[in-house]
């Protein structure tokens, strides 16, 4: 049997590794480097009802072991995503997780309803946490009541399981997680970016035209691990973990923390082959530590497992 095989609501994954939303477009670009069949799944760029230009540029800034982005949900709009991008993706044997965004509950519902009918869309990822959208996204992401209401509304119309993407910019991440779980979420994805800023030394102004942006990359991994560790012990739905993953070791740390699958964002920009490399190295890594299947690692930091597999010297 495939030691990486992973089953999640709506998703039967060859392996638990997938590119994170917004860091992989709709797959076309990375398909120049390797076959997308390799991937466990693909989380596509956030889709809104209409075409969006997003924020003014500059939209990215480098930080210590991280980067800030303020893309602002730019995308070609629901219709084009469905008729062009998702259709193009059909040639690959890979489940798509559609990242759904909007400025109102109505927009989320509209996008979710339609995009969930695409044959290769196996799950939705509700992007309630994009720190770069001013019209309300941020409120959805930090208020458990609104987040739950949105989750419920989307669940009612979606043809496929719904994962809710949590923002780390909250006092109480467990409260957010349990609120959307109660509202019917089938899974969680976490974490989105931390809200940050960088100022230019010469102008004293923010490097990003938008002022603030979302911090991603290796710098945020300790925060992500902590949140996955906390939340996974308090919910009964699976988690797709992310935040700074760059190596198979990082992916394993997320599994230990309690994630059932792992997404890779920023690292794609640094090394376009990062996902296939992790997929290649993960089995060797977990074998070397005495595990036979990736599922044995899930939640190992807090679960009591019968069999102690590694003996430290």
């Amino acid at each position: 049997m495939n030691m990486l095989q992973t089953k999640l609501p709506g998703l039967n994954l060859k392996n638990p590794i997938m590119p994170a939303s917004g860091c992989f477009g709709f797959g076309r670009e990375y398909a120049q480097f390797y076959s997308l069949d390799t991937l466990g799944a693909i989380m596509i760029k956030a889709t809104t009802a209409e075409i969006r230009f997003g924020n003014p540029t500059p939209r990215v800034a480098e930080t210590q072991a991280g980067m800030l982005n303020a893309i602002g949900l730019q995308n070609p709009g629901l219709e084009k995503v469905m008729s062009e991008e998702l259709v193009w993706l059909q040639k690959y044997d890979v489940p798509i997780i559609a990242n759904v965004a909007g400025a109102s509950v109505e927009e989320y519902v509209e996008v979710a309803k339609k995009i969930s009918t695409a044959s290769n869309v196996k799950a939705l990822e509700l992007n309630i946490s994009c720190p770069n959208v001013k019209e309300g996204g941020i409120a959805f992401g930090v208020d458990p009541v609104i987040a739950a209401r949105l989750t419920k509304a989307v669940k009612e119309v979606s043809e496929v399981p719904v994962y809710v993407k949590l923002s780390p910019n909250v006092s109480n991440i467990v409260g957010m997680a349990t609120a959307v779980e109660s509202a019917g979420a089938d899974g969680l994805t976490m974490i989105n970016t931390l809200l940050g800023m960088r100022l230019d030394l010469k102008t004293a102004q923010p490097v990003l035209a938008n002022g603030t942006g979302g911090l991603s990359g290796p710098a945020i991994k300790p925060v992500a691990i902590r949140m996955v560790h906390e939340v996974s012990q308090k919910v009964n739905i699976p988690i797709i973990g992310m935040g700074g993953v760059t190596t198979a070791e990082d992916a394993l740390e997320f599994l230990y923390a309690g994630a059932s699958a792992v997404a890779v964002g920023t690292a794609n920009f640094v090394d376009p082959y990062v996902c296939p490399t992790i997929i290649d190295e993960l089995p060797k890594l977990i074998n070397s530590l005495g595990y036979e299947h990736v599922s044995e690692c899930v939640g190992r930091s807090w679960k009591k497992h019968e069999k102690a597999v590694y003996h430290c010297s």
Binding site: F33, T57, E62, V270
Partner: protein, 257 residues
């Protein structure tokens, strides 16, 4: 198509106090066939600097499997790049993007190539290719000061080369537009790369004839996946082009500057 390689440093050479010419060797050169394309460089196999740096291809030598880039060592990444020695390897993604079209001009026509500062490098390969096609090339290159000028001789060998410096320490005092206005030269197509204010001035004044411009923007992926480097399309309000994959070269008017 192969797009990624650890390429060998053949030579690293300072051109001015802070501008370097780096020659790299490797298989990727085989795919370099358009002047104005760029490469995306990972300077360190570490998390600092995290992101790749986009640098234009300045000269291609298919025969030797080598290409040159010319860059200003200013921030963390380019300073580290400047420390790379012959024999070391550099992680290169590319060639990326769409460059300057050379087939829009026939032999005998005249092209004006207008470069500003660190926008000058991609014009060198372009000029070589245009000249090889029998097109007359005139160069107008703007710099801050005499100390910042590089490749004047190299361009001179290909065609007339006019220098403008902001402080007047070399050539015409002022901007490239001052030179072009003064020269009043008859030309067929203009190609340009440099700071956005310069490109805007060119678009405002010389759009009567074909004008191609190369744009710069902060990049994430460099290949079209992250939407970091986007500019608006002129005609439609929310339509957009990605500088890294649709550009960096556009025809004037195609996108909003």
């Amino acid at each position: 198509m192969k797009k990624h390689e650890m390429m060998q440093v053949v030579k690293q050479r300072p051109l001015t106090h802070n501008v370097y010419e780096l020659t790299l060797k490797g298989e990727l050169v085989r795919f370099m066939n358009e002047p104005g394309q760029f490469v995306h460089i990972r300077v360190e196999n570490q998390y600092l600097p995290l992101l790749r740096r986009p640098i234009s291809i300045a000269e291609i030598n298919q025969h030797a499997n080598e290409f040159k880039m010319i860059y200003r060592a200013e921030g963390a990444g380019t300073k580290l790049l400047a420390s790379k020695q012959s024999g070391e390897a550099v992680d290169v993604l590319g060639p990326l993007g769409h460059g300057f079209p050379t087939d829009v001009l026939e032999s005998g026509k005249t092209a004006v190539l207008v470069g500003g500062g660190i926008g000058v490098p991609p014009l060198y390969e372009l000029s070589k290719r245009l000249m090889a096609k029998g097109i007359k090339v005139v160069h107008v290159l703007g710099f801050q000061s005499a100390a910042d000028v590089f490749y004047e001789e190299e361009f001179n060998e290909l065609g007339d080369t006019h220098i403008a410096t902001v402080d007047g320490t070399l050539g015409t005092k002022g901007f490239v537009t001052d030179v072009i206005d003064r020269l009043q030269l008859p030309y067929d197509t203009m190609f340009s790369c440099g700071p956005t204010p310069m490109l805007r001035a060119l678009e405002a004044n010389y759009s009567d004839k074909p004008l191609y411009i190369s744009l710069e923007e902060r990049m994430g992926c460099g290949i079209g996946a992250c939407f970091a480097c986007v500019c608006r399309q002129a005609e439609e309000s929310n339509a957009y082009k990605k500088i890294c994959s649709d550009g960096p070269v556009f025809q004037a008017g195609e996108v909003l500057l």
